[in-house]
Amino acid sequence: MLHLFKRLAVLSRLARKYPLGAAGAVIMTLFVAAALLADAISPFSPLTTNPALSLARPGGLHLFGADVMGRDILSRILHGARISLAVGIFSTLIGGVFGVIIGIASGFIGGWFDLVVQRLTDILQALPVLVLALVMSAALGPSLPNTILAISIPLIPYVSRVIRANTLGLRELAFVEAAEATGMTRWRIAIRHILPNTLAPLIVISTAQLGSTILTEASLSFLGLGVPEPYPSWGRMLSDSAAEYMRTAPWLVIFPGLAISLAVFGTNMLGDALRDILDPRQRT
């Protein structure tokens, strides 16, 4: 019990010191809760159509209104959180895991391996993320897993760059040199010493990237190349209603856009605070 109080005290101290971060954490918690509990808290099914409710205005039973097929917008947004979160988390995760492996290996092995990796990174970074993701998702075809893949691949070089620099820095440090002196194998050093010390920069870069992956997914879906119907992806909801009902039913454009902005805003604020806490050198 005391333990819990202590933790709460730490949290509240952090929240006072980083009010924006705290706000971000609250938004993110709501976002994750919406995604996990979408089935339980949605007032309606996100897929059931109803002719009587076509383009219903916001208010009453349908707080955010209904789309042209009479599907409840609030329920679709709550379920849409799943898509955004799935894309955000999985593509950050894939990008992060491969980025870390490649980054550590590149920084630790060095030599020709490092050289090749560096050049590949150069190549992938010579294109704006959206352009690369656009071509990739076209190549892979529209589906949820393919969208995740198309977004995560451009992420790998960003993560591996940071991790490689971090690894190079760690190698110079006394404890790694000490471990080398005691005859530990390189792989053990990498796993025992380098990997744990990679966590902080990884968390920082991952939270920062989480927001941009959500934005990239929304942009791809908006352009019709991301997550297809019937998944209620926020970007897709926007693109269809923007094409048809921008004037006649503006709520179809406003609410999904607000959801995207809020989710990304939350991750950005949280990311900033985490960076300040975990990586004081890069403070802003």
């Binding site: 009010p19 924006l20 050049r119 590949l120 150069d122 190549i123 010579a126 294109l127 704006p128 993320v129 959206l130 352009v131 656009l134 071509v135 990739m136 076209a138 190549a139 892979l140 075809g141 927001g211 934005l215 929304a218 942009s219 908006f222 352009l223 190349l225 970007g235 926007l238 923007a242 921008m246 004037r247 503006p250 454009v253 406003i254 856009g257 995207i260 902005s261 809020l262 990304v264 805003f265 950005n268 604020m269 900033d272 403070r283 802003t284």
Partner: protein
């Protein structure tokens, strides 16, 4: 320095070569080729005709041959033919360059005009209410999808003025033409302005902490003069770098904004061409974007090396 230049140039070519291979291979993985698209508009597929058109377009040749043809042409300044319009790819791309360049340039100017001053103010007033407000604003700038912002702007325009700036043939009057550049540019530039503001702020904070600024303050120099004259000048280097990179990376923002505002620029053309599987256009456009990014990177590196003596040229 000479050796560094040569090495750096070599790497640049290597990167461009890598991009060309990647884009070429990825496009060939795309399900359905141009001939499927052509038939799509006819509502049927005839396998015999399909094979004939593929042969006509050279799509039946082996991939290495197709690749060599493309790169060989590129080196001679021949970009090939658009499969869709049957015009030379250059004739399709060239008229769209100024449209996108004008939009990107205006967007960047807008971003700097907003981002740099606000960044400085935010740094100088660190941890005041104003700083928090500006930081929240810049974070929201990075969070709002630019296509949504564009839609809101359009909706707002219609609500307020009953009309809106979208491209149609022969815009009437100078005012409309200016509006047609300014409004989309502000929409794209909003995100960049947020980025520039954040970086200006952190670069300024970094510099403000340094000794000579403290000395200047201690000597009793007028604080505002110190902030602007000394600190800003020193903080500009990283900011310039970011602006350089942002110039190339604006392509992402242009893609959605040109779509929303119906602007016939390069970025929207890229999306349409991907949809149409118009390989010659997509390949060359992607190479153009990569070329811009790589060249700007190169220039920024050189600037850095020239301006900041602390940077080891060997790096």
């Amino acid at each position: 320095m000479g050796a560094y230049l040569v090495r750096r140039f070599g790497l640049m070519l290597l990167t461009l070569f890598g991009i060309s291979v990647i884009i070429f291979v990825m496009l060939r993985l795309v399900p359905g080729n141009i001939v499927d698209i052509l038939f799509d508009s006819a509502g049927m597929v005839n396998p015999a005709d399909k094979a004939r058109i593929e042969a006509e377009l050279g799509l039946d040749r082996s991939l290495p041959v197709q690749y060599a043809t493309w790169i060989g042409g590129l080196l001679h300044g021949d970009l090939g033919f658009s499969y869709v319009s049957e015009k030379s790819a250059w004739d399709e791309i060239a008229p769209r360059i100024p449209v996108s360049a004008r939009l990107a340039g205006t967007a960047l100017l807008f971003a700097m005009a907003i981002g740099i001053p606000l960044g400085v103010i935010s740094a100088v007033r660190q941890n005041t209410a104003l700083d928090y407000l500006l930081r929240v604003m810049s974070l929201s700038g990075l969070s709002v999808p630019s296509f949504w912002l564009g839609l809101l702007v359009l909706m707002g325009f219609v609500a307020l003025f009953g009309t809106m700036p979208i491209y149609t043939q022969s815009p009437r009057g100078l005012g409309e033409a200016v509006l047609l550049v300014l409004v989309p540019a502000a929409t794209v530039g909003f995100r960049s302005s947020a980025l520039i503001m954040r970086l200006t702020r952190s670069a300024m904070l970094e510099v403000l902490r340094q000794d000579y600024i403290r000395t200047a303050h201690a000597k009793g120099a007028w604080p505002r003069a110190v902030n602007y004259r000394h600190a800003l000048r020193n903080a500009m280097l990283p900011v310039v770098t970011v602006i350089g990179m942002e110039a190339a990376f604006l392509a992402g923002g242009l893609i959605v904004t040109e779509t929303v505002f119906n602007i016939p620029g390069l970025a929207r053309f890229l999306v349409e061409s991907i949809r149409n599987r118009d390989y010659p256009i997509v390949q060359n456009l992607v190479m153009l974007i990569a070329f811009l990014v790589v060249t700007i990177n190169f220039t920024v590196d050189l600037l850095y090396a020239a301006l900041d003596p602390r940077i080891r040229v060997g790096g």
